[in-house]
């Protein structure tokens, strides 16, 4: 098994991200360095624009190369667009091979979907950050953003323990720095420190689980009665788990538990959530948007990879036909997250803290969506598609909500709920974006959140976890209470003499597009649903 030169196109988006990161970092030297604010802003803008343009290009390349949405027809008569078309054709030909690269890096439909989501999230965050530049080191900010995205993309494609861990660290270390980026503000420094300490502990727990999984694999004879495969690939682990005896299964379950706990920290599932509100509140709002949207999505993809590729034989069930395996673990996590996350959000007065708790409760829905992935093929595929659908919608929703908060903060609006009073008069666009994002998070029918929640509920119900679906429905109703607490000052309270809020044009367009996407995906769920199904089936 060796890396061939023809394998390079399969890594194209990741390679492009690395090159773009170096380009952003290097081109910063060529800018005008001066101490006046105008020069500093100019320097930051340049880095943001380069990042935005580059990420847009990479997103397009990923979309064309993945071939999920469309395939370019073979060469026909020469036309005006022929050069572009054959470029696309070559891209698709390079990405077509499906087996995992070096047994470590899958380039299947789920990877393509993950790349589209994560690079898209990074693009939105870069566009928003162009109007809310950090106090210092703007180029390094965008470089770290790009490298974190790179780590997340690799994480979502991992088929092997070591690359999964290295990719997780790549994104985590970048995110620790990003969370504490404006270290001159005590809240940001505290956020960075908290995120670092919790993240390091979770990495250690994850690593312990991984080493146990590896040790068990190396101790169990091969499926054909031969010697054990001393290998860290998920396929080898799955093969070993299949023939494990009872004692070895115990160690395997311990490994799975530790690995789920390690990733649950990143997802902020209760009881591993205590860092999330402080970090989301203390970090700069664009970073909070990136954490809530991309970091969570990447963690879910890592769980999907680990659980379905390495441990399908200890999936178990969480319903009428038994309460075993990792499905039961996820069910417990989903239960505690849905109940505690939603209840803890009720008394919050600070908008960003409230959204942080709402983001925690969304992680509960994600755990619920992961539940059926251990089942039989048709159910599992439908549930995977539902999970992808939910991920897309949750990603856009949290980007829109946290992006609107970023715009509010840039305009000098304070962070409490009552400061939103009369936002419909002060800035109708932001009021509309916040309302649409929050209504979608709450799962109100015409919006995308409703379809996504519905798909997840159906998947979990068919997997036998009906009791959990009922509890989730109840918590959804509870969640309406605090979502309405955000909407009430925006629409019901008078603005009094609070000043109008102005939004930078790029931010306004980005947020408006995100809100429109939430409406469009809610009214016409078909195309995204087909895309998700194509991603699941393209193995």
């Amino acid at each position: 098994m060796m890396f061939q030169i023809s394998d390079v196109p399969r890594l194209l988006p990741e390679l492009m991200l690395a090159v773009l990161a170096l380009l952003v970092l290097g081109s910063d030297v060529l800018e005008r360095w001066a101490d006046d604010p105008a020069a500093r802003r100019e320097r930051g803008r340049a880095a943001a624009q380069l990042t935005g343009i580059g990420l847009g290009l990479i997103w397009l390349v990923t979309l064309v190369q993945g071939g999920l949405a469309f395939t370019i027809a073979p060469a026909g008569a020469a036309g005006p667009l022929d050069a572009l078309l054959s470029l696309g054709r070559n891209l698709q030909a390079g990405g077509a091979e499906r087996g995992a690269l070096l047994g470590a890096f899958a380039t299947d439909g789920i990877t393509v979907m993950a790349r589209l989501l994560l690079i898209g999230a990074a693009l939105v965050v870069a566009l928003l950050a162009g109007d809310h530049l950090p106090d210092a080191h703007p180029a390094e900010f965008f470089t770290l953003l790009l490298l974190a995205t790179l780590g997340m993309c690799v994480m979502a494609a991992a088929q092997e323990l070591i690359i999964a861990f290295v990719a997780l660290e790549c994104s985590s270390i970048a995110l620790y720095v990003l969370a504490g980026y404006s270290a001159r503000q005590p809240a940001a420094a505290e956020a960075g420190m908290k995120y670092l300490l919790f993240g390091v502990v979770s990495s250690a727990v994850l690593l312990y689980g991984m080493s146990l999984a590896y040790g068990v694999t190396a101790s169990i004879g091969g499926a054909d009665g031969g010697p054990p495969r001393v290998n860290t690939s998920f396929a080898a682990i799955a093969e070993a788990v299949r023939v494990a005896d009872v004692a070895q299964r115990g160690a395997v379950m311990l490994a799975v538990t530790l690995m789920i706990a390690g990733v649950a920290y990143k997802l902020a599932l209760v009881p591993f959530h205590s860092w999330a509100p402080d970090v989301y509140q203390g970090a700069s709002p664009t970073v909070a948007a990136f954490l809530a949207a991309a970091s969570k999505t990447a963690g879910v993809f890592l769980l999907v990879r680990v659980l379905t590729a390495a441990f399908p034989d200890v999936a178990g069930a969480a319903g009428a036909n038994g309460f075993t395996g990792w499905a039961a673990l996820l069910a417990l996590l989903a239960l505690s997250t849905l109940v505690l996350g939603n209840l803890a959000a009720l008394p919050q007065d600070v908008t960003r803290r409230l959204l942080a708790y709402s983001s925690i409760s969304h992680a509960g829905f994600l755990a619920l969506a992961l539940l059926p992935l251990g089942g039989a093929a048709p159910l599992r595929d439908a549930a995977s598609a539902a999970l992808l659908y939910y991920l897309v919608v949750a990603l856009i929703g949290s980007l829109a909500a946290f992006g609107a908060l970023a715009a509010l903060q840039a305009a000098g609006v304070a962070d409490r709920l009552e400061d939103l009073a009369g936002l419909r008069q002060r800035n109708p666009l932001l009021a509309a974006v916040l309302t649409i994002a929050i209504a979608s998070m709450a799962g109100l029918p015409p919006l995308a959140g409703f379809t996504a929640k519905f798909a997840v509920f159906v998947g979990a119900w068919e997997a036998g976890a009906a009791w959990l679906v009922v509890i989730a429905l109840v918590t959804t109703v509870i969640a309406l209470a605090y979502y309405l607490r955000v909407l009430r000052p925006i629409w019901m309270q008078p603005a009094d003499d609070r000043p109008t809020v102005s939004v930078a044009p790029v931010t306004a367009v980005t947020l408006a597009l995100a809100a429109l996407a939430l409406i469009a995906l809610g009214v016409l769920p078909g195309p995204l649903w087909q895309l998700a199904q194509a991603a699941v089936l393209a193995r």
């Binding site: 470590a104 470089t143 490298l147 690799v154 115990g250």
Partner: protein, 188 residues
């Protein structure tokens, strides 16, 4: 014989690791951490993983711990801060640790681990290199990017640090004098 050596090394690891956690003085904790790293290196040698053993000593004992000591000396403020958080009752932590240890020991102890492998050659460094260049090429390359991220992060944090004004010893003495003067005057 091997068991005796193992028990000696293992008790050294556990004892120094406990001392890392319970030392009040952070420099002492760092020194005990070095002892832990060293003993872990000895454990690798006992497992006949001589390359990892040497790398452990070079990287962790040699570089990482010196870095930790430098970091402590360069950033530590002259006054000792009491920790800002309150730890919960110690018996909860103890019960948690004992419960976790019980689960780990019973589960891991029940597994018949395969402890020896006769097929392996005496020196494993060439194998390691081949593996890094073949099946582990991607994580190996990604590790380079992780180092780049850490480097950029360190620069960002350290350069920020320089701009911020931290109180020096002179400032602190001046502040204390001021406080003492005010106390003499009888004004708050």
């Amino acid at each position: 014989m091997v068991t005796v050596i193992f028990i000696a090394i293992a008790s050294l690891i556990i004892a120094s690791a406990v001392l890392v956690v319970i030392s009040r003085e952070i420099v002492r904790a760092a020194l005990w951490l070095i002892a832990t790293f060293f003993a872990v290196g000895a454990l690798y040698l006992l497992l006949e993983a001589e390359f990892i053993g040497v790398a452990q000593v070079l990287v962790y004992v040699g570089a990482v711990s010196i870095l930790i000591l430098f970091a402590i000396m360069l950033t530590r403020q002259h006054e000792r801060h009491e920790p800002a958080w309150r730890a919960g009752p110690w018996w909860i932590a103890l019960a948690g640790v004992i419960g976790l240890a019980a689960v780990l020991i019973t589960t891991i102890g029940a597994v018949p681990w395969r402890l020896t492998d006769d097929d392996l050659p005496v020196s494993r460094a060439p194998q390691l290199g081949t593996a890094l260049m073949r099946e582990y090429l991607l994580p190996f390359q990604l590790a380079a990017i992780v180092l780049l991220v850490a480097l950029i992060g360190a620069v960002v944090i350290a350069m920020e640090e320089r701009r911020r004004r931290t109180p020096t010893l002179a400032d602190d003495i001046a502040a204390q004098r001021g406080a003492a003067d005010r106390a003499e005057d009888g004004t708050p």
